[in-house]
Every structure is written in C-alpha cells, then in structure tokens.
Symmetry: C2
Subunit: 562 residues, 2 copies
C-alpha cells in the first residue's frame, strides 16, 4: 500500500521535513497548514520540491469549524482551494466542528458540506470529513459517515483516524459499513493507554503503530475489507517527535508501517529469538570477569576479540577500547537467515538500537571460530537480561525496534525515583522469557548517567555473594544499611549486600557490581516464577551509583587539573 505521513509528525522546517520523509521511503505526505504558512517557499515551489523528492501531497489539513454553522465561511474555503491548486493537493481534510457556535443539526451539516464539496469540485478537490474525538456534536466516525451519506456528493467522503476512533473506545468494525470509495483517507496513530482528557492525550502522546497499545492492524483490516484503496498515513502529535531528529523519526514511522503490513498479512516474526548467544563488551573488563568466575576460553583468529564463558553465559570482549561499554548482543534463533532477512525487511540490516547497541543472529557455529577451551565450573548459568539506556526522545523508537525487528513483547513499564529525576523503564522479553531486555530512558542534564548492564543468572545467589564478598569485596556495590532496617527478610542478605523482591509468582535475589566505564553487572536468582527485574530496589542502586559517579567525576577533574 502507498505510505504517507503528516508533516506535523516530524521535527524541523517544511523543507527539512520533506527531505527526511522522502529519505525514509514514503510515497506522500499530509501537508499540515502551519508548516506551509511558516515556510518561505511559495506553494508552487513546495510542490516541485516534493515532486523532486518523489513525494505526492496526499492531503492538505486541517480545515476547521466549517459545517453546521449559522453561516458557513465559504470565502475561507476558497482561499484553501486556491492554495491547494498551487500545491497540487486534491484532498482537503475537514474536521468536525468544535466551535460553541456549531449547531447540533445533521441536515444543516450535510447541506453545508455538500455546498463545500460542490465548490471543491470546481477546483478538482475532494473533501474528507472526519469526526474529531472531541467534536462538539460530531465525535463518532459513524456519525461523520451518516452526514457524508446524507450530503451525497461525489467530492465528499470521510476521513478515518485511528486515534479518534480507538481513543473513544468505538468499535472499528463499523468501518465495514462504509463503502471503500467513500473512505477518502485513513490516518493512523497509536497511543499508550492514558486516563486523561482526550484532547491533551491526542496532542501530546500519539505515537506510531506498535509504539502504543491500540490494535491498528485490526482497524486497518476493517478499512481494507471495506475496500479502502488510499494510502496508510501516519498522523502523530508527540512532544518528543517534535524535538527529535527528523530522519530517525521518519525512519521509525516507515518501520511501523512495514510492521503493520506484515501484521495485516498475519506474518509474525519468522524466527523469534530463543536465547542470548552472547553479549559483547569493549574495554579492559578481564579482571572483573575473572572475579565473577568467567574463564577466557578462546580468541578470535583475526580480530582482537576474546571469548569468556561461564555455564551458558558467553561474553565477547573487544580488548582494544579504553573505556568499558556494552557494544552488541548476539541472539539465538531457530532460523538465522529468516531472522536476519526479517530485520532487513524492517529497514534494520545492522540491527542497531537507538542507543547504538548492535544486535545479530550469529550462525550456530559462531563459537567454534574462537577455538574455545572448556570454561571452569562456576555459579553463573546464563545471561538473564541486558539493560540499555536509550537516548532522550528515542524511547518509543527503541520499543518499536525491539518489538518489530527482534520480535520481543513489551512487559511492565515503570517510573522509578532516581535522586535527580524519574527514570522511565520498560522491560521487553521473548514469549518464553529466555531473552529479556530492559530499556531505560536517559535523563536530560548534567547528572545524566547512561549506564548499561548485563544481568547474569545463578541458581544460588547467596553462595555467589558469599564467594564474591570473601574474594572481591571491592567489586560489590555497597547497599545502605537503611535498606535492610526496612526489609523483612533473611538477615544474611544484609551481611552479603544482597537485595530482595517478591511478586505473586515468586521471589528475586540480586546484587550489583560497581561500574567499570559505562558498564556494571548484576547477578540474579529467580525463585519460583518471579517475573520482574527487582525494580523496587533500583532507586537504592541508582542513589549509590550517583554518589560514586559524582565522586569519580570529581576525582577525574582533580586529576585533570593536577
């Protein structure tokens, strides 16, 4: 299907927007009036610019507060028609009236829209009438369609907007009652479920399909069944998107539509990841890994990369970097070729998350290349999860990446108090829970601490903690005594610096190492069917890490000035 996006969905001036949208591979745009009014180029040049970029102008919008008025303002409409002719745009979006002067009279609305359509027809223009969720009298899509049918003019049809339909809880199945050729336009936006005024929700929190909780594939399916043949067009009002890089946002938008088309075809992820093949670190982390019980079992024949192993936990280490960080994640899959091809189909051949972490589906024999020896036996059994800090404005993009490209499912979404702000955190996992990724949102400002971590699983955390405390006490992140004074748990946790959580399925024991470079390690034990990540204890960790981070910075500054 043709793919379009409203210019309001991305950041920048109109020319910047068009360039980014075209680069992402869209076929057309909805031109938002404000973007034209603030643009120094006349409509003819905007038309040429768009055409040069391979973009058609699918819709001009919005035209507000026209119908069901005591006296409709046709002069204003004529001004829009003239601009649209110069733009080469043939469809005008008319939103249902929100004016206090609007009359609750479908006959009047229909007759005035008919008049508008007649005038539009003289310019070769079509009118797409849409029910805003907060329209004064018309706020249901089937109500808008009733008025369109009543008006009965070939140049008048309806525009459907997934947000306006789904935010009100309307059942989209009614779309099938509308003849496809009378659905002039289909606008798509997803949104997180928020209990708030629908106007504010719409203006600030819309997102691309797959980033929220609406069933977009279901809605589009009804429109296709009705015979809709127009473009799939994204229309998103989002405070982050307004500020984020336009290229990346456009790219995310295109990915969301491709994933939507795949969902429409019933094509799930063809080869969902079944486990962590490895996590790849950079920098001098050998000392920490040895302390944690890992063995250096092999080395890449051609590259400066070592393999470290313990149980089924495998870590690659690129030894050339100076500062430790987490570079990449290798994932196991039943079908490497299908998984890799699927990622490419979603515009992500390199599988790089917004924070720069690369992902791959290595072939089954990847480990052999390192000519590995057997690792020494240890407590660690496998990688439980990795946690990555995503850049400001690209949290929704990260969700989309892990959901579509890697086939993970969103789990709990939390806000955790950090001493210097709330930390937004979202867990995603494979269906069987073997691959878990926690996405954290980096904060803005000087106190930003963009940490990454690898959580390693053990079957006996107290034993692991005992050993570490005896052999490498300097490696353990100290936990404040006050935490234990408040805790109703085994007193040995205090001595060992182990944290505790429980949910309705089981219990969780965990500890953290200190940070090296940007990276730290967590060791976790899931008891029973515990499903979480110990988020209740994250504020304790964050406070201690901030203190140490600040001390390190101060020491480095002192070192630099000494």
């Amino acid at each position: 299907m043709r793919k379009s996006i409203a210019t309001v969905s991305v950041s920048g001036t109109l020319t910047e927007k068009l360039a980014a949208i075209a680069a992402a591979g869209f076929d057309g745009v909805e031109l938002f009036e404000n973007d034209l009014l603030t643009c120094p180029l006349p409509p003819e040049e905007v038309r040429l610019r768009a055409a040069d970029l391979g973009l058609s102008i699918e819709l001009y919008q919005p035209f507000r507060d026209f119908e069901a008025m005591p006296s409709p303002d046709l002069r204003r409409a004529e001004r829009k028609f003239r601009v649209m002719e110069r733009l080469g745009a043939d469809t005008l979006l008319v939103c249902s009236n929100v004016s206090p002067q609007a009359v609750d009279d479908d006959e009047l609305a229909a007759s005035q829209l008919r008049l508008l359509a007649e005038r539009a027809a003289e310019h070769g223009i079509r009118i797409a009438y849409e029910a805003l969720a907060w329209g004064r009298h018309v706020n249901e899509y089937l109500h808008a369609w009733r008025i369109v049918r009543l008006a009965d003019h070939p140049n008048l049809g309806t525009c459907l907007d997934s947000f306006h339909i789904l935010s009100r809880g309307s059942d989209p199945i009614g779309i099938e009652a509308i003849p496809g050729e009378k659905i002039f336009f289909l606008q798509l936006a997803d949104a997180p479920l928020l209990a708030m005024d629908v106007l504010q929700w719409s203006r600030h929190y819309r997102c691309f399909p797959g980033q929220g909780t609406f069933d977009l594939a279901g809605l589009v399916g009804h429109a296709l069944k009705a015979g809709y043949e127009g473009p799939l067009s994204l229309e998103v009002f989002n405070d982050h998107f307004r500020q984020a890089d336009a290229g990346r946002t456009s790219h995310d938008g295109m990915r969301s539509l491709i994933a939507l088309e795949q969902a429409l075809r019933g094509a799930d992820h063809p080869a969902e990841p079944t486990g962590f093949a490895f996590a790849e670190l950079a920098g001098p982390v050998g000392g920490v890994l040895t302390a944690l019980g890992f063995t250096r079992t092999g080395a890449h024949p051609d590259e400066p990369v070592e393999l470290w192993e313990q149980g089924e936990a495998r870590l690659l280490v690129d030894t050339t970097a100076a500062d430790p960080s987490l570079l990449a994640v290798g994932l196991e899959t039943p079908d490497q070729a299908a998984a890799t091809e699927h990622a490419a189909s979603l515009l992500s051949p390199t599988m790089e998350a917004p924070d720069g972490t690369r992902h791959s589906f290595p072939d089954a024999a990847w480990r052999d290349g390192f000519a590995p020896s057997l690792p020494a036996p240890g407590d660690i059994t496998h990688i439980d999860h990795v946690a990555l800090t995503q850049p400001w404005h690209h949290f929704d993009g990260a969700t989309l990446f892990y959901r579509t490209v890697l086939g993970l499912r969103p789990q709990e979404s939390l806000e955790l108090p950090d001493p210097y702000g709330l930390l937004r955190s979202k867990a995603m996992s494979s269906a069987d829970g073997r691959v878990r990724v926690v996405l954290n949102l980096a904060q803005v400002g000087a106190e930003s601490m963009p940490l990454q971590h690898v959580a390693l699983a053990t079957d006996d955390l107290l034993a692991t903690a005992c050993r570490l405390r005896a052999e490498h006490p300097e490696l353990l992140l100290p936990i404040p005594c006050n935490y234990y004074d408040d805790l109703d748990a085994d007193p040995s946790l205090r001595e060992l610096g182990v944290l505790h959580d429980r949910d309705e399925h089981g219990e969780f024991l965990h500890l953290y190492t200190v940070t090296v470079g940007r990276v730290f390690f967590e060791i976790v034990q899931r008891i029973g069917g515990y499903r979480g990540y110990g988020a209740v204890n994250a504020p304790v960790r964050l406070a201690v890490q901030h203190l140490r981070w600040a001390n390190d910075l101060a020491a480095r500054h002192q070192g630099a000035s000494a």
Copy 2:
C-alpha cells in the same frame, strides 16, 4: 508559623536535599522513606545532620496499606517505629489503603488504627491518618476524620493534604469540624487544573502554592480556624522539581509559604506596578534604536549607560557589552519603598527572575540623573510588554516570582508550535494591563534559541511599518507570503510585512525586527480592547527566526574555521 517541606519535593541525595532546605530557611522536613533507604548515613546521623542544620524531622512517611486489612501487619509498623526513634521523628503518616485486599469497613479500619496508635504510643509516636484521593474505600478527608474519631486514641489524628482535598473538588470548609489538636499535620501543594487521572496528576504535576490554581489560603484559613498549630508543610511531586537545582526549588518553596502567610493576613501586594519605567538593554543597539525612532536623550554621569526615549518608552543602554541582550526592567509604582520592601520580604531583594533579568522600582526622579534632553517626536508611545525566555525546569518558579514579588496576575497559558518543539508561553500582567510580561519556556537541545524581546506600542502601526519599510527594510523580519495567502485582512498588511490577530475584544497589528544578539523588538498596535499578544502568529515568527538563527550560526562557524 513553622515551615516544613517534604524531602521528595526537591532534587538530590538526602544530604543535598537537607542542605538546600536548611539554606532556604525551613524549620523542618517531612522525611520521605525512599530518601532514607537510599542514604548511606544511618538514621542517627541523619538526625544529627538535620539538627546541625536547624531542621526538625516533622514527619516520617509514607506508611501504606495498613488499615482495614484481613490481618494488619504490625511487624512492619514496628520496623518503622524503630527507625523513627533513631531519627527522632515523632509522627508517622499513614495513607488510606489502596490495596485490593482492603475491606470497606470503617469499624475495622478504626480498630486497627487504634491498635497501631497504641503500639506507636509505646514509642512516643503519633499516627497521622490521611485520605488519599485515590484511596480504595477512604478518599475523602472527612471520611478519614470519621475513622480517626471512631478509633478515639490520643496518639491518632488526621493529616490533611490540600491536593487530596481540592483535586477531588471537596469543600475544605469541613476542616472546621475537626478539633485543631486532632489535625496532626497539614500538607500543602498547589496544582494546575488538568483533566487527567488524579494519581498521575498528583505524582507529576503538583507545584508550590501560587504556582497553580487551587485556593490554598482558603484551605489553610479553615485549618487555622479549627485550631491547627502544626507546621505548614509543602509536599510536591513534580517531574521538573525532581531534576531542578535543589537550592532554587527550596527557595521557591519558602517564597510560596511566605506569600501564603501574607495572603492569610489579607496582605495584598502593597504597591503594584503601574507601568514600565524603562527596559535596560546591553550592547551595541544604538543603530536599531535610532532606526526605530528613538533619540539618545541622556547619559548616566558615572556609568556607561545611555538613556534613549520615544514617547513614554524609555530604554537604558549599557554600552560596554559586546552582545545585545535585555538586562533589566524598571517598574513604576505608587510606593517605591513599600514595593521594594515587599520584594525583600519574599526573599528577593535583587528582584532577579529565574532567567537572570533584574527588576527594580526606581525612584520617581531616576530619569533626572541622566540630564535628559527632549526626544524627537515619533510613533512609539510606550512599552507594551517584554517577553523573556525562562530556563528549563524553572517556569513555575518564574510564575511565582512575577506573581508574588511583582504582583502580576497570570493570564493566558499557551503551547505554540515551533519547528523544533512546542513552546510553552504564559502571559502575566498588572490589574490595569499597564505592565505585561510574557514568559516563554526555553527548549532543551541544540536548537534552543533563548530570545528576549521588547514590544513597543504605537497608535498607527501601518504608518510605522511604512516608514520602516522605506527607510530600514533590512531591519524587518520577513514574513512568508504563504501567511498572507491564508489571511483575510487588508492587503496592505502583505506589502508592509505586518501580522494580524483578533479576539472578541478587538484587533491586533504587529511586526517584528530582526534579532540583534539575543534581542529583537516588536511593534504592536492594540485596536479596541484586544487583550492577547498575537500568539497565533508566533509560529510564523519562530520559523523565520530559526532559519535566520541557523544561517547565522553556520556563518559564524564558517568565519571561525576560515
């Protein structure tokens, strides 16, 4: 009255919070449990640290989900009591139960709270029971009081929280039905009116008294009438406050309480500003001022400051700075001494806004010091308003400053689309509209453009525009033609580059100059009783300014690298 603030209201680690709170002059704190749990100091040292800073620990909080349970968890309560003894805190906040297991049974709730109070009494501790607005069965403050009365124990009282009362629309007059000695604690938070889930509203959008729309003085008046003698304590959950500078936030909190006390005494601003005495600019702006029709009428005898005048518009210019900016605003007042003293009483002797702009109430003869000549006649009659960009996280602080220190009233609050994000804007003015200030919120990120501007009034904008276009066309900000194609107004506006707006009271004509340094000028004509600021046209201005700003930056970079 004693003044207190919850540690959750400000940013940082517990020790940073205590230091900032003490520096702002508070008498005590509500210690938030999470701040203690994440703190490396044991309770005894926290107690000493607070005492050294002159702070008492007025309340320990929150203790959740205790009452009306099938079996109340007294062991958990005993842990809290032990910590409180070590802290030297004698009042524990118990919030009404939100657990799905809670039973809707006031008798049960009362008997369990009585049991809790008995145990607390053994530790010399009092229980303050509070109705959360989203409590499962108890969510009205008078309901909480009924349960407290039913329990009838000297160590059990109620805690009132202005947010929980006013967010539900409850009438605070019922507070007078509670004996003062049974009101164990009074928590104060204001909030903007938002149509959203009350829990989200509470957790993210609370603010200090005077920053929102609640009638805090009214509520506190009822508590005082009831005989409440405890502290006024601020408890604010706010995403910005969590990230903002703790010293500035604490200072704002103290200012809000002082203003609240003044309101309780019925003490309005004693000498509200009646006009702009002057605006003070820095840098080489003489050329622009001359072009705008200003005359250099005088010079300061001792300082490098010039006086420029036109009509009643007076501008001081500090000629030593290299980059033009707006430094200060002088305000006329019927009583200079009272106005200055009032500012000092609100902790603002220098009257500096969060963006650094200084304000003053110069004495009536200030102009004489410049030995001024008569200005040439011109179109400009006076300063209409100044617009200032406030730093991220300190928008609420700016509102409080202008509202309390300078006695201005909040007017419209808007969000305007800028190419790179939404611009938050709030207008404030004196009762008679002679002093108007527009506060804009600076955006985060690379595209940030922290502009300031002075809007000058004229009685005939078209004449002024004509003259400027003929004599200094380079000075006028060019307006895109597309703006005029969409405008239903006098065609001469297009030729002259004048913008237009109307409201129900009248019309507005205005134009902008280009930016010099951080500053630009606006010339405005209010026709009829127009009350706004042409905000509908701000997106056009912002888009053009961004384009020029980016070009300037590029040219400067080129210059630097050449």
